[in-house]
Symmetry: D2
Subunit: 303 residues, 4 copies
């Protein structure tokens, strides 16, 4: 079998004229009076593109990790590089609308969350806030993601023959998404054990989260806590005690689905949180943030 030539472009039908493209420059942004710019680049690129677009009058929604952590020190530890725009770092809103809706509405710069932290924070913070978790015993978050999370650049690790009929673990306890969870669910590093795995599927994240209840509780109490917290949040869906959907339920949607199992005698609880890493974990959430920033209904184009 011979190699086929490698091209970034997919074949286009004859009648397809393609989309109009505005050149990606600050001047073009200014001339076109762009309302909003989405950045989906490496952190070190996004970091330094952002100021120019803001000065050009556009709101910026950045999908990289450049503006997700609150301090330059934290950025340096996890991204192994200095942060060169620390003023903007302090200004950026963390784009998880279920937590920071009002702040996002008035932000110039929204930092779209990582895919793993989106599923983790939505499951963990309401319980921490309600005092339901025995933090001393620690929370384990065992996360599994589809391959699209690794980006489109060809790599041996994401080659078909390496991934099919396979499953692997990576970034055990040291994934750079960890601090996003600590920061937004108010946890200490010692309290939160996170490990990532690569699923042989295109898209979807499922996180199995283990903890002990701080006092006698029930699946119903945990679910009620979520329902109260997510009132008015159209993209979090809850299930009856013991019921957990599979990834097919959330793929190609902007939903985060959460299921709960609780063992009363031992106070052990398992919460399962599912999203599509490309939608609620990336582009969908970016649109949700754009809706807030521009004053549209939060679910516009997403339901």
């Amino acid at each position: 079998m011979e190699h086929r030539s490698d091209s970034e472009e997919r074949p286009r039908p004859r009648s397809d004229s393609g989309h109009r493209r505005i050149p990606c420059t600050f001047e073009a942004a200014k001339d076109a009076k762009l309302d909003v710019v989405f950045l989906a680049t490496q952190p070190e690129i996004s970091m330094n593109l952002t100021p120019g677009f803001l000065e050009a009058g556009a709101k910026v929604i950045d999908l990289s990790g450049a503006y997700r952590l609150r301090t330059p020190e934290n950025y340096k530890r996890w991204y192994k590089a200095d942060h060169e725009q620390s003023a903007l770092l302090a200004e950026a809103a963390y784009g998880l609308p279920e937590f920071y809706r009002e702040q996002i509405k008035s932000a110039r710069l929204v930092s779209n969350p990582g895919c793993y932290p989106t599923a983790a924070n939505l499951a963990i913070r309401p319980l921490i806030q309600a005092g339901l978790v025995d933090r001393a015993a620690g929370i384990v978050c065992d996360a599994k993601s589809g391959v699209s999370g690794a980006g489109r650049k060809p790599s041996l690790k994401t080659s078909f023959c390496e991934v099919t009929e396979n499953f692997s673990v990576y970034s055990i306890l040291d994934h750079r998404h960890v601090p996003e969870v600590l920061q937004n669910s108010n946890l200490e590093e010692a309290e939160f054990s996170f490990t990532a795995h690569l699923l042989p599927i295109e898209r979807g994240i499922l996180e199995t989260i283990y903890f002990r209840a701080a006092k006698d509780s029930s699946a119903a109490e945990i679910i009620n806590t979520y329902e109260k917290f997510y009132q008015g949040s159209p993209f979090v869906r809850l299930y009856d005690p013991g019921v957990v959907p599979d990834l097919h339920a959330v793929q190609h949607t902007n939903f985060c689905d959460i299921g709960v199992k609780y063992d009363a005698p031992t106070r052990r609880a398992v919460v399962v949180s599912l999203i599509d890493n490309l939608v609620k974990g990336a582009a969908g959430q970016a649109v949700q943030n754009m809706n807030l920033v521009l004053g549209f209904a939060e679910h516009e184009g997403l339901l």
Copy 2:
């Protein structure tokens, strides 16, 4: 597209005469002076087939769950049925050679372990025995298995279109394999949280096991503990600190591969244990047990 007719048999080449089959009866076993009988049936079938084959003079290696738990009470709780052969239940050797080699050698009846408990016990018991685990904080075992673990009987849950590009969780905290781990790693139920997941692959189990060290430790100390424990056990392979293989490394082999990651400041440890559920988790381990029972070298036909 129309349905193709459903048949249990695969097409056979013209030159293939097939294997000789001895009818599966006690008389045939006696007449053929069978040395050993493998039972791969439902627990309630295996339970009552076993005495007849033993009386016919054959050693029995049972791959069902019928003889894995030590007491009728425990069997009733997890299998929701009375055990009708409690004398044999007490007699059966648990067929994990790495733990019970000598006992298996002299057994008439060997109970081949479940697939999940094989990977879990091999990873957990040496650490419990060495006192390395903070048992009060609990052990989390997040287990993922390929579809062949569910058997060959057609079912919507294992249909291609339900499984492909999907991932799901099941038996959260209440899988019937749990007591096999408690029993053989000397754990209490409250100390061990186990959840199973269905991978969109044919074969392989990966378990990600989280715990806290009872005192300051290191990946090296944990690995050394395993190396000492598994001296003379050819089917457990260890890796350097932080190195963990993927399922391709163990598929179609009788190996159990174990990798270790340790975070010193917080004493958090993650151990990853991998097997092929059809080999070390089933048929391969059965052959390993047969080798012991019949006095062959333990690795015969398996390396």
Copy 3:
């Protein structure tokens, strides 16, 4: 690993009230003054449900094979059963809008085409009609389909472990979809060789169609022939000579994509035709037919 219980229903979020369901009876159809009824049942069921719904005043769009062939004789040969509604057989419109748009608009009963014939007829008939094909040399249609084409009923043939990392051929030269192509592209059986294959994917059909040109031709001439034929048909997309998309291009769409390769010295031509078997090959085409029957724009809800 233990069996999970088998259920037809997927888990539903708590806030999901489900869809309103009208009981599927003739009386209910009458009472509800249903405009249209879709039948997705076995041919022998659809055949005899149809008259009742027609009498109740509903238009019927039948997705089974019951009304696809024009004569009871032909039905008997390929479906191995007598046709019990031969008057309706004669009346039914064949629901391929690109060929029979006007007839469908005024039909009471539309017979939605098979998935394989949809891709085949759209590729073949324009060329036959234009006299471009050397019919004496024969046309080969090598067809490959995703597993959803076999329906949702659990079967060993569509079990995950049988399909993954596999590929197989079936219904060689005798698939019951063959007469739909003969009938609608005006071919004799001897002129058309069709073989089906099962792809290890959920959805999508790709047919590779081989023929010789009746006279010196070119890829451009073939493409022009299609473009003229499909003027006003929004769901057929054509590609430049030698360009052929993959199944990702048509999945989850109602498009039929067609690519062409031609070898001038030998007059050999290859046409590749792609659809999603669940959309243009089934439900999408049914909606397209409904749009015509009810007087909506043909593409409503589909583009």
Copy 4:
């Protein structure tokens, strides 16, 4: 999700000392008195490595396309480059033992066949030789291969997300493996239409071959023709009329399986030929050739 570092090496267990490696130089080959050298490189590399190893006294089995075609002209047409070792080109044995067993036994240089031509030639040549094919009507060979056929080098075309749930056609009528079939089955280009497709699986080739019988024939006659031809060839397996295995039957084996379907009224025949592209289509066949070259039993290490 962050990128994992990319490495060619897979993790190795601590006890694994690795294989002894002889440096790949002519001198080392000479010093080590190597009996045989396998070359699995690009054609332009193999072409010029071969003479040195032959001079060093080793037999060479080349898995590239460098020595498969018989004339420099043919090589230039299909490989778009001059052949720089035309004397060796004339000398090389084509390593399809089922056709050229005696020639291979005495060869210094064996050119291991391409994967597609192996399956095609084994199915076609016996029928051509027996005069069973109506050559004027042409032979269609519709070929499908797993992704490993494209090599291990990362490429967008073989990335997991591009391949999974997808299927595509490539090299329509112009694959560089075509001349290997013409040459070894004695066909003219106009008589043979070959198209390649990419299956979303790791390994395996299935070719569906369509032709018309030159005179009234039967599946039995076709199968008998094969059986006579392949007497003494242990790696070709035949099936009863109408029976065709799937790729699972040949994966990880050196077999070529052939099934036959025949339609008497129209003289149309379909032959399906299956191999594992990495075994009978590459490394297995190379070992089979080595066995012949070194005087071992042909099936040594392969059955």
